[in-house]
């Protein structure tokens, strides 16, 4: 037993030595929902963290905790970060919303930034990207590329962010191809490669020859590659290792400029609670290279759509659009307001199946 005690003692001593480091640096914490090597969502947030270190060098110290379960366990992790002297904490998944606000109340001097949520406080900002702008372009390509007219969609959780993506992709797939149908499978996880691959396989068995995903790993890409003739899109990250086929394009989240700007604000003392929701125009959402597997004219249309969205000339949710039950949502030419989009909890007309409650 003595040996184990010795080990514990040594670890404790190390931990104590670690916390006694210099305090003049700005300490920035990150809470991640998956591993930094997921190749998707968390990977891109971690790229933002690394860009932060590069930008500020010695003036900043970053810490992160990966694979933190959404829900109560996040409270423990966030509190721990705040106690260890973090000045700014980014919590990077929707399911950390209540926990972030709860911990923020206990640490009024620490700044918090919650990704994809809608609850703010004096020391809690929210930020998100308009992924649905990228989904519009994916939807267009998907509608043009499908031969079976069945597009599979792997959803994670039925939350507004995901529903918005499905609606945007569906509207534009239908515009490109009036016969297209969506089959939607909810995986109830952000990250579980085996389950994501199974979901993709099931969709492919059901006839889908295009699979869109709103989960974080590259497993659906691998499943599509196995199947041979199925088109996919990179989600959150470029996933270029599966290009040029099955991955024909991607939505890339670029968090680095935002992380740098917000950290700078903390250093300068100019940080205030804000709500940021940027899209393709400001560069928070990027569209990965459209490969040659896509016919040239489709690629051109997709790029034109991207330009129109980036310049603000076209909004992906422009009427006439009806809700799933046939009631009118947007009149001809009317554009959806951000409030409705942020809380979107309905499918648009034409999508079959219900949103799980």
């Amino acid at each position: 037993m003595k040996f184990t005690k010795l080990l514990t003692g040594a670890t404790l001593a190390l931990a104590l030595a670690g916390t006694a480091m210099a305090q003049d640096k700005t300490k920035v914490g990150f809470v991640f929902v998956g591993p930094v090597g997921d190749g998707g969502w968390t990977y891109e947030h971690n790229q933002g963290r690394l860009a932060l270190e590069e930008e500020f060098g010695d003036k900043v110290e970053t810490v992160f905790v990966e694979s933190v379960a959404e829900g109560p366990d996040a409270t423990r992790v966030i509190t721990d970060m705040a106690l260890k002297g973090a000045d700014l904490i980014f919590t990077t998944s929707f399911g950390y919303m209540d926990q972030t606000v709860e911990v923020a109340q206990k640490f009024p001097n620490v700044k918090f930034e919650h990704a994809t949520g809608y609850k703010r406080a004096d020391n809690v900002s929210t930020y998100s990207a308009r992924f649905y702008e990228g989904r519009a372009i994916q939807g267009h390509i998907a509608g043009k590329m499908t031969k079976s007219n069945i597009v599979g969609y792997i959803g994670s959780y039925p939350i507004p962010e995901v529903i918005r993506g499905i609606n945007s992709a569906f509207i534009h797939a239908r515009k490109a191809n009036p016969d297209v149908e969506f089959k939607i499978v909810w995986a109830y996880t952000w990250f579980d490669p085996a389950k994501e691959a199974d979901a993709a396989k099931v969709l492919i068995e059901q006839g889908a020859d295009v699979v869109l995903q709103h989960t974080d790993s590259t497993a659906p890409q691998a499943a599509a590659q196995e199947a041979g003739d199925v088109v996919t899109f990179g989600q959150a990250s470029d996933m270029a290792q599966y290009a040029p086929f099955p991955r024909v394009s991607s939505i890339i989240d670029d968090w680095a400029p935002y992380y740098i700007a917000r950290t700078k604000a903390v250093m300068d003392g100019t940080w205030t609670s804000t709500d940021t929701w940027d899209g393709i125009g400001p560069g928070m959402v990027a569209i990965g290279e459209i490969t040659d597997a896509v016919p040239a004219e489709v690629k051109e249309e997709a790029l034109a759509l991207k330009e129109a969205i980036a310049s603000g000339e076209y909004h992906p949710f422009t009427g006439p659009i009806n809700k799933q039950d046939g009631t009118q949502w947007l009149a001809d030419g009317e554009v959806a307001d951000d409030g409705t989009l942020a809380g979107m909890n309905f499918f648009v007309e034409g999508i079959t199946g219900d949103i799980p409650q």
Partner: protein, 306 residues
């Protein structure tokens, strides 16, 4: 409710594949627990096996070499647990959890240069003309070697535990280590061997995910299968053949809920998703009435002096 859209042949073939990693991991843990050791590090050993197998398969181009490496990798990492619990007599629960965390970290480190690589494919076993039999052929005779190996392993473990002297010794050590020691059996040595066997099996299960089921390497890709395997051992009340049924039930439910969604059946998916765990809890409650199910010395450390 239109269920005809689900192709039963593809569905059954799908859940046989989904259940295989579980079978590997759980049958190994079953042997470990039958010798009286509770190793909660299944998840860690699986993910270690997943990356060892993946790396070796990619480097050598041979999936079978990958599986062999996965077994070795899982067994080696389990030695850490064996050292802590059998030699240092550390708490088994804490050591097992530590093993899981260690395995996840180590595999992430080892796997950094393997992200986004496609592993060599393990071909399906060729059954010749037997594979042309309608239904049976595509359902049962169109799989890779490891799927059959998992089945063979379960049957072997069942035979060994039930009918052989070796099985009797393993069970004796698990039921009452003091008595086994008094009879002259080397309790620590036998348990260490069982732990290594468990590690090798978990490693194979992990490699099945990274080489066949997904197939790719992603950090943390086992995503909780190891924990389900632990639940499965309890669910099976430490009996190999029940374990097989349980694994198909667990694997089948996951496949079923994905399939039902894809064909647009409006069922509350959450209930299906949680059902394996609910069933395990129910079985545990039923089992708690029968105190003989669990090995008598489960989770207790042994030292010759005590």
């Amino acid at each position: 409710m239109d269920l005809s859209a689900i192709n039963p042949v593809l569905f059954i073939a799908g859940f046989l594949v989904a259940a295989t990693p579980l079978i590997f991991a759980a049958i190994g843990e079953l042997v470990v627990e039958r010798t009286g050791v509770l190793n909660l590090g299944v998840e860690g050993m699986m993910i270690a096996g997943a990356i060892c197998g993946f790396a070796v398969a990619v480097e050598t181009g041979s999936p079978l070499a990958g599986f062999a490496a996965a077994a070795v990798g899982g067994a080696v990492i389990s030695l850490l647990f064996a050292f802590l619990t059998q030699v240092m007599l550390a708490n088994q629960v804490a050591s097992g959890l530590a093993l899981t965390l260690f395995g996840l970290g180590l595999s992430a480190l080892l796997g950094q240069s393997y992200v986004g690589i496609k592993p060599p494919r393990l071909g399906d076993v060729d059954f010749g003309r037997l594979a042309d039999i309608p239904v049976i052929g595509p359902v049962l005779l169109s799989h890779d070697l490891m799927l059959y190996a998992a089945l063979a392993l379960v049957i072997t473990v069942w035979v060994v535990l039930k009918f052989t002297r070796l099985g009797l010794i393993l069970r004796a050590v698990g039921e009452n280590h003091d008595a086994a020691h008094a009879l002259g059996y080397k309790v620590v040595r036998i348990r260490t061997a069982a732990i290594m066997f468990g590690g090798a099996c978990a490693g194979l299960g992990g490699a099945y995910i990274s080489l066949i089921r997904v197939p790719q390497w992603t950090e943390g890709m086992t995503a909780g299968v190891g924990w389900i395997a632990l639940a499965l051992v309890v669910f099976a009340s430490w009996k190999p053949l029940r374990l097989l049924i349980g694994a198909y039930l667990f694997g089948g439910l996951v496949q079923l809920q994905l399939n039902l969604q894809a064909v647009g059946v409006a069922i509350p998916v959450e209930y299906l998703a949680m059902s394996p765990y609910v069933i395990t809890i129910v079985v545990l409650v039923i089992l708690s009435a029968d105190k003989t199910a669990a090995p008598g010395s489960l989770g207790r450390n042994f030292h010759a002096s005590s």
